[in-house]
Symmetry: C2
Subunit: 515 residues, 2 copies
């Protein structure tokens, strides 16, 4: 399964050029949202959005394109409109059903040290997912392919700031669609030991993914249901439609008690009203419809409320991300999720074409939106560019630094006799300094977050070093990290069973495709 060892050996020399030392990262750790989330809306305004959503589901309904799913809603008391597709859900049904979803749960990785707490005040950061293109400074921008797919998986494994996969970091289009999920999910198991994602692109792919994660964790289906280990992102086809593959995904994943993340993609001004209130009412209606289905399939199945409302540029129609409206939408979505007692998923997004100041400030708008919005799961947390059209190796490293900074920010300082430092202040006295103080000496090594990317040299030293900007520094770091990468240990029996299953399914032709 290894690819081009010569080039990888070549990297070692570069790594040595940096001093030959392994890059230092804080350990894998889920941060906790310890501060009170920002509330953009007051209780009455939030209630109006909630009631608007209920009105949408009750009066307008949502198109449910899969017969099996419509039957499930109907048996629970929903009505189906004259067109045979629109399901109308009364507010009592919606509220009673979503109340069955758990507030918190654990997502199990094949390495238990990478199990992810989901809900409460825990936060999990996911790798970028689903980009059609990939880029790095040396190779430029290119179509997604298996080699870059694997390198991005390796990067996601070695970056401690990344808690779990988010999907395929880039779409490897050089693998045929009929067997792509088999190859890719095997790579997720072998190249990483973190939680991973199954795309809902038809029932067979969901079932293959469930079998692969079952093999990877060495458990029975019964145990798998007791220990959710796989998640899927469900996007509505906004406005107000759930497509067949997504409905298959909800049904199969919920049936197996695996995690469903229902995330409408509601761009205000395009597939949703041009007003945030309207776009969020629609987002909420679509999310609730999907969440209801999970609980009708299996009451208590783990489910996450996803928000992905942004706005378009009204001059060009282009989607925008990390805007002030996006940040507000993320935080209001968090308010809605908390209102329903559900874990909340947000994202780290931007629309920049280069890893420049725009990429950073739009990402920061998204991250502050997520983290002070009470997000439990941040999708695309590392590596997303261009509104999702490109996965960037350098951005993944930059984001890892941002995520670690935010994690540090989420740890309030200790205030006790030692940290208040009265003795040290008395000792330093007016006009003194603290460089050599015993208080400093005892603490300086771990006192502050040591960034991966920030360059704090003075201008003259920085210029002498060739004026490296952040993008160049992140390039060197990602190359070094890939050099340092070692595949996580994998039980030989598991590996054999996995290869056997994948080989069998490939021999069978994988899944039918439309291609």
């Amino acid at each position: 399964m290894s690819d081009d060892p010569p080039r990888r050996r070549g990297r070692t020399a570069r790594a040595k050029g940096r001093g030959g030392q392994a890059l230092s990262q804080p350990p894998w750790r889920q941060p906790n949202l310890v501060y009170r989330p920002i509330e953009i809306l007051d209780a009455e305004q939030l209630e109006r959005i909630h009631l608007g959503s209920l009105q949408i589901l009750e009066q307008f309904g949502i198109e449910i394109l899969l017969d099996e799913a419509r039957d499930i809603y109907r048996r629970a008391g929903a009505t189906v409109g004259d067109d045979g597709l629109r399901v109308q859900l009364d507010r009592g049904l919606v509220q009673e059903t979503i109340a069955k979803a758990p507030r918190e749960f654990t997502l199990h990785a094949r390495n238990p040290e990478h199990n992810v707490r989901m809900g409460g005040n825990a936060i999990a950061f996911c790798m970028v997912a689903s980009a059609p293109n990939v880029s790095d400074l040396a190779g430029g921008r290119r179509t997604g392919n298996q080699k870059d797919f694997r390198d991005l998986l390796r990067l996601s494994q070695i970056l401690n700031a990344v808690h779990m996969q988010g999907g395929y970091p880039v779409e490897p289009v050089d693998i045929h669609a009929s067997v792509r999920h088999l190859e890719c999910l095997r790579d997720c198991v072998t190249l990483t030991d973190k939680v991973f994602h199954a795309y809902s692109l038809g029932r067979d792919r969901n079932l293959d993914a469930l079998e692969i994660v079952r093999i990877a964790r060495g458990v029975s289906y019964e145990q798998l249901a007791e220990q959710p280990s796989l998640f899927t992102i469900i996007n509505s086809n906004s406005p107000l439609r759930l497509d067949i593959p997504m409905l298959h995904g909800i049904i199969e994943m919920a049936r197996h008690n695996q995690v469903v993340v229902v995330t409408p993609f509601t761009l205000a001004g395009a597939m949703a009203p041009v007003t945030l209130a309207g776009a969020l009412a629609q987002q909420n209606a679509e999310a609730l419809a999907g969440i209801v289905l999970t609980q009708l399939v299996r009451p208590g199945a783990p489910v996450v409320y996803g928000g992905f409302t942004s706005n378009v540029d009204m001059k060009s129609g282009a989607p925008a991300f990390g805007t002030p409206e996006y940040t507000q939408a993320a935080q209001i979505s968090g308010q809605l999720a908390r209102r329903y007692g559900l874990p909340f998923r947000s994202s780290n997004v931007n629309a920049a074409n280069a890893l420049d100041a725009q990429a950073a400030y739009e990402s920061m708008m998204s991250l502050w939106g997520a983290l002070l919005g009470g997000a439990n799961m941040v999708m695309h947390a590392a590596g997303w560019m261009e509104g999702g059209l490109c996965a960037s190796f350098e951005k993944a490293v930059l984001d890892a630094d941002l995520l670690q900074m935010m994690s540090e920010y989420l740890r309030p300082p200790i205030v006790d006799e030692g940290t208040l430092a009265m003795d040290a202040i008395a000792e330093a006295g007016p006009g003194g300094h603290y460089f050599g103080a015993a208080h400093t000496q005892a603490r300086y090594k771990t006192a502050f977050y040591a960034p991966l990317v920030s360059d704090w040299r003075n201008f003259e030293s920085w210029r002498e070093a060739g004026s490296p900007t952040a993008v160049e520094r992140t390039h060197a770091i990602y190359r070094q990290l890939l050099d340092e990468y070692q595949p996580p240990p994998l039980d030989a029996g598991v590996r054999e069973a996995l290869d056997e299953f994948v080989a069998k399914r490939i021999a069978e032709g994988g899944v039918a495709t439309d291609f």
Copy 2:
């Protein structure tokens, strides 16, 4: 007073190259902090820092290098240590005295439309101040000079996101120090009509600044005292020392009822303890000492609590900004200021040497720290680079965009029948879109913030346009803004009186200098 018209005419062509249209900015408007500020510490932890500060002032004291100031403290009941310099303030005196400071006030500009509310939930953004160097993409980095000083003033005037000056955006070292304040303050009055700042570099300079602002506003000293119109930043010489010029500044400005912003510069690990709790206890002690003096000089004089605690890089000793620790320190400083009922000053800082991703993410850490920390005044809000060693034209434009984004974020969306858009949602129906909807048509022009800098074109269009990064876009924007700049109207009589005063003081030799 105009400089090099030929080059400025040259710019017009470039501006026309952008379509010849004036850049569109939201109007000058102070945003309000409408969300609940973040509380990093709980009430008990905050109280421990407060009590630590009182202990410092009571037991260790603070060095007050000016006899006149020590006498003021002494007459109020403070004791002076055996060395004749250390003033010790008991907690009763401190708390009783700072309680006299106003919670809110207005800073009066010569253009009343640019008056600044200070305190409450109002926020004011100040231009970068006091950088020794200046840079732009075309001219590179250079030592501060009068031409760039004036261009930065012009930029601060035309950028609506900038509410007031912060000092000299760059130090014009080509003007002799004895008369620099006279030339520079005249420029502040003639090139801008916004509130400006007087450096506290000796009593004579403070008095000249007071006379200049009095002339500019066309008022008497009595009226000036009723309408604070000038502010000064007071930095302690940390740890625990207030220098003579700063003490002169506090005394003269408070005596005239002008605004004193007391801002200790407490770098954790260097001039302050390596722990945030200790650094903040020291910051708070130094701030309270200065604030006490303002209220002893003139009870009720307008004063602002300034926080500027950051940390050093413990590997190199270099100051760092926009770190997680910086953000926490800013927000805890806000908690302290609110505890005392004082307006709070924070900053928009970073330590980057280039306008790259680092500059943006460190600035964002600072801005979120300030705005969710409840800052009423954000110094260096536009244009600061390199930890304050450089003012950047391009960064000023980038920051203006960030400030406007934050201002938009601070306006919660309207939730009413119109914005909830139930009719539009019913009309669009499943699988529809909102581009042509009447609901969209009626609102799309003003629905979303239109950024100055963000480039949302798709990758292909962006590459065809030459792959411009944010720094190149900000360069073109700042050049266009300087082309569009017009000096604000100034009464001919005021202008004459101003020139007369400056000419007289220059003829007198300005102020004595140490040079």
